[in-house]
């Protein structure tokens, strides 16, 4: 076929094609212009929405009884349009739906502006969004919207927090490049970070001890979501049981690919230079492998006091 012999041909009724509605459809469209939805009752008692002149089941003319229905309705079936076409009622993704309006016995076909296909399900309750200016046209309803079933409540409050005496003592140690723990005289357990009472027996802690900045990974998690406190993604957060401590401390693991981190891995704290240190855990950049053979976790004192 010669490309030169292809032409565009348009079939169009300039200004549109005028159609009379008849009394039944005309009534529906007139009510629609007034932002009301009506159905028509059949001789058998069913309410047809949108109204037809004849009962589709029997072929009998419908009665002259009009029944206000909706405006809310229930979605029976839906189809999701991911890429709207120029002729579609909405220019963003939407659903076509069969909507059974409250009080109707048949379903109305229309669009539902649901945002996402995940918002749709059979039984979804919807209501019409009316066009600002109505004209007696099926598109006087711009679309249907899901009924309000949830809302987003913003929550934000500001606080002024202090670490308390025990944590302050621990952070003072961290500022000086040391991990300070607390030994319970009753239980003989060493808690890190430092604390003023033993959570096991309730005794007042009398003895402060310094533990090593080396330890063993007891358990860990690989995080794939960015976190402002972590240097990269993915990052590993782990429980590290410091040598000399009986309780593990949560810490970042770095300097090693995430998939190589394992339980029993021996690690050492990487401190920021002394001149950069503050009263903060950011003094420890992370823990990195020492290269020693893995520790046997069953022989250590374990993950708890």
């Amino acid at each position: 076929m010669s490309e030169d012999l292809v032409a565009t041909h348009v079939l169009e009724f300039p200004g549109g094609y005028t159609r009379t509605t008849g009394p039944v459809i005309g009534r529906f469209l007139t009510e629609l212009r007034d932002r009301r939805l009506v159905g028509v009752r059949t001789a058998g008692g069913r309410v047809l929405v949108p109204p037809l002149e004849y009962d589709p089941d029997t072929g009998e003319p419908v009665t002259e009884e009009y029944v206000e229905v909706g405006p809310a309705g229930t979605v029976q079936a839906w189809a999701w349009v991911g890429s709207p076409r120029p002729g579609h009622p909405l220019d963003r993704p939407f659903a076509w739906a069969m909507i059974k309006l409250d009080g109707a016995d048949t379903a109305l076909v229309h669009a539902v502006d649901a945002g996402s296909p995940k918002a749709l399900r059979p039984g979804l309750r919807v209501r019409p969004r009316w066009r600002a200016a109505t004209a007696g046209h099926i598109t006087d309803i711009e679309c249907f919207l899901p009924e309000v079933a949830s809302l987003v409540a913003p929550v934000r409050a500001e606080y002024r927090v202090t670490p308390g005496r025990a944590l302050t003592r621990f952070l003072e140690g961290v500022r000086d490049g040391r991990f300070v723990g607390a030994r319970c005289a009753e239980c003989a357990a060493v808690y890190v970070p430092y604390r003023e009472s033993c959570p096991a027996c309730g005794s007042v802690v009398e003895e402060e001890v310094e533990v090593a900045d080396t330890g063993t990974v007891t358990t860990f998690a690989i995080n794939n979501l960015p976190d402002p406190r972590a240097p990269e993604v993915p990052f590993v957060s782990a429980y590290v049981l410091l040598d000399g401590a009986d309780t593990p401390m949560i810490a970042l693991i770095g300097g090693v690919p995430a998939h190589e981190v394992r339980q029993g891995m021996r690690v050492r704290a990487v401190w920021v230079p002394p001149e950069e240190r503050t009263l903060s855990m950011t003094n420890v950049k992370w823990f990195e492998p020492t290269g020693e053979p893995d520790a046997d976790l069953d022989e250590s004192s374990g993950g708890g006091a």
């Binding site: 076929m1 010669s2 012999l5 041909h9 348009v10 079939l11 094609y17 159609r19 509605t21 459809i25 469209l29 047809l48 929405v49 949108p50 037809l52 589709p56 029976q76 079936a77 839906w78 189809a79 999701w80 349009v81 991911g82 076409r85 002729g87 579609h88 009622p89 076509w96 739906a97 069969m98 909507i99 059974k100 048949t106 379903a107 109305l108 076909v109 229309h110 669009a111 296909p117 046209h137 099926i138 598109t139």
Partner: protein, 341 residues
């Protein structure tokens, strides 16, 4: 009822693009083929099915008569529907008893326009067409209502396309792939392909049929039924009109070797199987069906032609053909074809 049979069937090698042939040029070879197959040059009645909106020109079907030859004047009619419904009119005309042969044809070039939006023009102008409801969108509503199993639909498309590749008249389409949606829940491959093509069938009555074909495909039952047009007035998960037409045509009165169904979307196959009472072991659309070639306005006639061809070729003894029109299987025609009248 007068005994009427399909005695000849021809179709074009369908294409997924415009080959540059005008409709009469597309039609001429298939008319010629059935004339040669039967030796007939004139027919008692001629009836065609086509849609002016496909060409965008009023009375476009009239020019197609150039492929038939209408002088001296012939007895002729046309339906603005698939050629299968023209065949029904020809079958009724043959029941009058005064003529013995009829030529039926259907043709369409859906490559010329956007068929999804052309099909919007068939919708009621008050409630549906103003919404811009396109063909794939309303089909997707039916697919949603029937809630068909995705793996079953994929298998229907895979089987149809594989059968189509083995059919010299159908398109060469690859196995279905991809997980994007056209209109959810339909994927692009659930939709019959854009196709240009034509088909022709010759019907003959009684002894005339026995003269014209060795094994005429006797139409032992044919019926069509319609449902309400508006989608919300129907249970879209079922096809009541197909079931009624199937009962009227006598589908269940004997075993079915092959069924050719007018499935323009994959989810229509389970709906139609259920409506016609076809068990899982009935072979459906061994030609590939509309999912492998969908020359709109000839597709339904091709179903009858394919079902008849299996009898004419002695490949089957009892076959069923189905054709549809309107949105979401609104109108359905069912024919039963058998080796004996």
């Amino acid at each position: 009822m007068r005994e009427v049979a399909v005695v000849a069937f021809a179709q074009t090698v369908h294409t997924g693009h415009d080959t540059g042939l005008a409709e009469p040029e597309l039609l001429l070879p298939v008319i010629d083929e059935v004339k040669r197959a039967t030796g007939l040059k004139r027919f008692g009645f001629t009836c065609s099915g086509s849609c002016d909106y496909l060409a965008g020109a009023p009375f476009s079907f009239v020019s197609a008569l150039d492929a038939v030859g209408a002088w001296p004047p012939i007895s002729e009619s046309h339906v603005e529907m698939d050629g299968a419904f023209a065949l029904y009119e020809a079958w009724v005309r043959l029941q009058h008893g005064d003529i013995d042969t009829a030529l039926v044809y259907g043709f369409g070039k859906s490559s010329m326009s956007d068929i999804r939006e052309i099909m919007t023009l068939q919708l009621d102008p008050y409630y549906l067409a103003p919404l811009g409801l396109d063909q794939v969108s309303y089909a997707a509503l039916q697919a949603s209502a029937v809630n068909a199993d995705r793996a079953a639909l994929d298998e229907i498309v895979r089987r149809s396309r594989a059968d189509g590749r083995a059919n010299p008249y159908a398109l060469d389409l690859p196995d279905p792939a991809g997980d994007e949606f056209e209109v959810e829940p339909l994927r692009p491959y659930d939709v019959a392909p854009v196709t240009d093509g034509a088909a022709a069938v010759v019907l003959a009555a009684g002894d005339r049929a026995r003269e014209l074909a060795g094994r005429p495909a006797w139409i032992t039952g044919i019926a069509h039924r319609a449902e309400p047009h508006y989608l919300g007035m129907r249970d879209l998960s079922r096809s009541v009109s197909t079931a009624e037409a199937g009962r009227a045509a006598g589908v269940g009165k004997g075993p079915v070797d092959v069924a050719e169904l007018h499935t323009q979307f994959s989810h229509e196959e389970p709906i139609l199987r259920e409506a016609l009472g076809l068990s899982g072991d009935v072979v459906v659309n061994p030609s590939g069906g509309p999912l492998a070639a969908n020359p709109v306005m000839a597709t339904g006639l091709i179903r009858i032609g394919e079902a008849a061809r299996r009898i004419l070729d002695a490949a089957a003894d009892r076959t069923v053909a189905h054709a549809t029109s309107g949105p979401c299987l609104q109108q359905n025609l069912v024919a039963v074809l058998e080796t004996s009248a």
